[in-house]
């Protein structure tokens, strides 16, 4: 018989992130969900309020539960270059690149970012644990060490138009000269604060990377600096709004990870997600290359399209048709919302590529005082992200 712990449910309880202590005080509605086994706020006060902090002031988003791997060694670059679709050799020192990695069939396993921290040192971040695939990818390379930093590196995303002003006030001199996807290191107490100008909101923003023992100190200094700039923690729900406006995709919503897919027709190629620009055929062999070449030649069967949906009923879970009478199905909506900033009813939908040329109709259901109503809404294809403000790319950014 094993020793009983004082909490018999300990094995089922969610873990706390390095910022939990502060976040719990601010999560006045106790609106928690979870991510990779960590307690993770769905929202803290109100989703829409937090969303507007991202677009109007600034907010922080706890990305501790995100997976972070350090990949080091003489072969690290070659190994990563062979694993992902982008050309890793072209990522400059202290630069970040967004990429995907695929199976041999050219199906997306996950998306994430690669940080080049030295010639032979990288960090890979992604939404889901990836140790097994990284090990497979490293097979045959002599000098590669993969370290899972997920629990040992605290990370906080700071997004919104006042985010640069807050970091300046916090004392990070020169942070305003960072360009999008730049990485910079600042001395912080006895340690190092790594800042990258990255994020998942399509707005001006930064991600802060720090040792766990300095996490709360950093939080406190950040919040003190942000007091006059409207700083507020935001949760999963507000993130999901911001990323959809920016046209970013979310695993388990807009695509399904190939290695977890039961029905193999349900996963996606980068071309289907309109991420063909991430696939670099000019570089040497990489996982999925042959299959991807073939996918490219044939063209994607499905296309994740950006839609402007008529009316204002969010097209969540809507089935797509090529006519108002619903006689022919052409796809399904993956993410949808009313966009408060664009003032448009926006959606991402997986649509049969051949049907993109025709009419696009979403069949939307909405409950009103328990009664279900149905409406057909005409949709228009959008080429660009729904929201793409200048300030996200301007250097130096304005203070507000």
């Amino acid at each position: 018989m094993t020793t009983m712990t004082s909490d018999p449910y300990a094995g089922e309880r969610l873990k706390e992130t390095h910022f939990y202590e502060r976040e719990a005080e601010l999560n006045i509605r106790d609106a928690w969900s979870s991510w990779n086994g960590y307690l993770f706020a769905d929202y803290y006060y109100d989703t829409e309020y937090e969303y507007f902090c991202i677009r109007n002031q600034c907010g922080t988003y706890d990305i501790c539960p995100m997976q972070k791997y350090e990949i080091t060694g003489r072969d690290a670059e070659t190994m990563l270059d062979r694993m992902v679709t982008r050309d890793v050799t072209r990522i400059g020192l202290n630069r970040v690149a967004y990429t995907v990695w695929c199976t041999d069939q050219g199906r997306i396993i996950d998306d994430g970012t690669i940080f080049r921290l030295a010639d032979d040192r990288f960090m890979l971040t992604c939404g889901s644990p990836c140790t097994a695939w990284l090990r497979k990818a490293a097979f045959g390379f002599r000098d590669v060490t993969i370290t899972d930093l997920s629990d040992d590196l605290a990370a906080l995303s700071l997004q919104g138009p006042t985010s640069c002003a807050v970091l300046k006030r916090m004392g990070l001199g020169g942070v305003e000269t960072m360009k999008a996807f730049d990485i910079r290191h600042f001395p912080f107490h006895d340690g190092n604060l790594m800042v990258s100008r990255t994020g998942f909101t399509g707005d001006l923003g930064y991600e802060l990377w720090i040792a766990p023992e300095l996490a709360l100190t950093m939080w406190d200094e950040l919040y003190a600096a942000g007091e006059d700039y409207g700083i507020q923690p935001y949760g999963e729900a507000a993130t999901n709004m911001a990323r959809l406006e920016a046209g970013f995709i979310m695993p388990h919503m807009d695509f399904t990870e190939a290695l977890k897919t039961v029905h193999l027709e349900h996963d996606q190629t980068p071309f289907e997600l309109q991420l063909g620009w991430l696939v670099d055929f000019k570089k040497p062999h990489f996982s999925g290359r042959d299959a991807l070449l073939e996918h490219k030649r044939r063209g994607p069967v499905w296309t994740l399209a950006k839609l402007d949906v008529e009316g204002n009923w969010p097209a969540e879970d809507a089935i797509m048709y090529n006519n108002e009478k619903c006689s022919h199905e052409i796809g399904y909506v993956t993410s949808a919302m009313w966009s408060p900033t664009v003032k448009a009813n926006i959606a991402l939908a997986m649509i049969r590529t051949e049907s993109l040329k025709g009419e696009l109709w979403a069949e939307i259901y909405k409950a009103k005082e328990l009664r279900q109503y149905r409406r057909m809404a005409k949709c228009t294809l959008k080429k660009k992200p729904f929201w793409m403000p200048e300030r996200a790319r301007t250097t130096p950014p304005a203070d507000v």
Partner: protein, 539 residues
């Protein structure tokens, strides 16, 4: 000399909206504005370095989403941010906290009256039902009830159908509602006087009526029927101030090829052979156009910039008697820090939203009595909001801008004309009222702008400083707005139109008047309509 398709007089938000839709339809148009800045009463100006005051209108909820979306105002720089929470201050130490969360507010009301906490649900449901019906009429041209034109008959039938759908009891309630006072109507729901006062306050804003005056119930509805992203009754702030609304519409208008000329006040609308043909500017310049659209209020349009001889009989008199009484003042204050209020917790989601110095129904009615006698009250109703707590662009970091709207402030004083001294004394009455609830408030003041009806009229051109361009009473609403027989934006002189809040559906930063007028103009010119239909969350 160049002849435009249309001249729009006044670059207020409705004038700009009208111009944007005419330009979008391909018309060659010009907007002329007397001031060296645009926006009319939807304006933001830096009067103190580092602070941007929205000098007149200060919050927004009626702005039609359909127009925002159609003119792509987001791309043109407009973001409307909802603000949360309101604190109502009783006459004494009592406070009423209106939280963003409905259940929290329920418990809060229960603290004052368990009866009223329950009644609030019925009140909100009734209010929503009433406002849904009115909202549907906003972006439609009112039918002329005396006309037999198919279009008017169709519209009347549509309206009748909507009303009949309410059922007999509700129909009677509705008719009663239009003629009731806010206080009487609330009596049916609430027992606590502080809560009644808090709920009644939208019934008198901008209006020369008291909470006990018949007609104030509708005005209450007019103020709560707006929404922000489908949240009915919510209020928002424009990032960058209310001027951002006008500026974004002007950007859209200019992108469609429209012209804008500031510092060009109109001296006179030119009429030849009973046709409006252009305008003469203050500087003597003449601009000719196929049509003339006035965004000025009805009184100003017909009594100030038109020759009486150019008008059909009776119009001048109607305009002269148009009910457009000034009743409100505005005090904009730059503060060196965030004020704190006694009895209010330091809850940023509550204390930084709105402050309603509503007191009791009795206090509000007494303030109205002062107005009737040509005085301002020493205990005025003040509605305040601190936009800088939500918008980082309107004050330096850590410092704040507080917008204070005061009901009432008379356009003419019993003891002679407004003077700078009297204006400042009026401002002082507001400061001392706030100071009563926020000790130390006075010490935070960096700069202030005090606006009585006198200033509002002289700067913005609103007659008597009436914020609605004419009162929102049933005799001046819908097909009676501005005058019976002229409810469809066409004015008594051919090719002359109106597009301001003197027309249906009246005041508020909604952009509807301008858009509706554009639709009528395009119809007359046999051009395709460029104005979108409204879209609803609630139909």
């Amino acid at each position: 000399m160049k002849r435009y398709d249309a001249i729009i007089i006044g670059a207020g938000h409705n004038g700009l909206t009208n111009a944007a839709y005419l330009a979008k339809a391909g018309l060659d148009i010009i907007v002329v504005e007397k001031n060296d800045y645009i926006g009319g009463a939807a304006v933001s100006r830096e009067l103190q370095e580092g602070w941007k005051y929205s000098s007149c209108s200060y919050v927004c909820s009626m702005m039609r989403q359909a127009i925002h979306r159609d003119l792509d105002l987001g791309r043109h720089g407009l973001i409307l941010v909802p603000y949360l929470g309101t604190v109502n201050f009783g006459d004494g130490d009592e406070r009423f906290f209106q939280y963003h969360d409905e259940e929290a507010t329920y418990l809060e009301i229960k603290r004052h009256s368990p009866h009223d906490a329950d009644a609030m649900h019925r009140f909100q449901a009734d209010l929503t039902r009433y406002s849904q019906l009115i909202r549907k009429t906003l972006m439609r041209t009112p039918p002329d009830p005396t006309s037999f034109r198919p279009r008017d008959i169709r519209e009347l039938l549509w309206l009748a159908k909507k009303f009949w759908a309410l059922g007999e009891t509700e129909l009677y309630e509705y008719i009663r509602f239009f003629t009731m006072s806010a206080a009487e109507w609330l009596e049916d729901y609430f027992e606590n006087d502080m809560i009644k006062a808090a709920m009644a306050s939208p019934g008198i804003i901008g209006t020369a009526l008291g909470v006990e005056s018949p007609g104030s119930a509708y005005i209450l509805l007019h103020h709560v029927m707006g929404d922000v992203d489908g949240s009915i009754g919510a209020w928002g702030l424009a990032r960058g101030g209310m001027g951002a609304i006008s500026q974004s519409i002007a950007n859209a208008m200019q992108e469609h090829g429209g012209e804008l000329r500031t510092e060009s006040g109109v001296k006179k609308i030119l009429v030849e052979n009973r046709n409006a043909v252009g305008v003469v500017l203050e500087n003597g310049d003449e601009i000719r156009a196929g049509i003339v659209v006035s965004n000025l209020d009805a009184k100003r349009t017909f009594t100030r910039i038109m020759d009486r001889d150019d008008l059909p009989d009776g119009i001048y008199e109607r305009a002269k008697n148009f009910k457009i009484r000034g009743s409100s003042g505005k005090v904009n204050i730059a503060l060196s820090g965030m004020p704190t209020f006694t009895g209010v917790p330091d809850n940023r989601y509550l204390s930084r939203g709105g402050q309603g110095f509503t007191g009791s129904l009795e206090t509000m009615e007494r303030a109205y009595d002062c107005w009737k006698r040509g005085r301002w009250s020493d205990d005025p109703f003040v509605e305040s909001v601190i936009p800088s707590a939500w918008d980082p662009t309107v004050a330096p970091p850590g410092q704040h801008w507080m917008s204070n709207f005061i009901q009432y402030c008379p356009p003419k004083l019993a003891d002679g004309p407004w003077t700078p001294e009297k204006r400042d004394a009026f401002g002082e009455s507001v400061i001392s009222k706030i100071e009563r609830y926020s000790p130390g408030f006075r010490d935070l003041i960096v700069h202030m702008e005090v606006r009585t009806p006198h200033e509002i009229e002289n700067e913005i051109g609103l007659t008597e400083g009436n914020i609605f361009q004419g009162e929102l009473t049933i005799d001046q609403l819908f097909f009676n707005r501005p005058f019976p027989g002229y409810g469809q934006y066409r004015m008594p002189v051919k090719n002359l139109y109106m597009c301001g809040s003197s027309t249906h559906p009246g005041g508020g930063v909604s952009a509807v008047c301008g858009a509706n007028a554009a639709r009528e103009i395009l119809m007359d010119l046999r051009k395709p309509n460029s104005v979108p239909d409204d879209d609803f969350y609630d139909e």
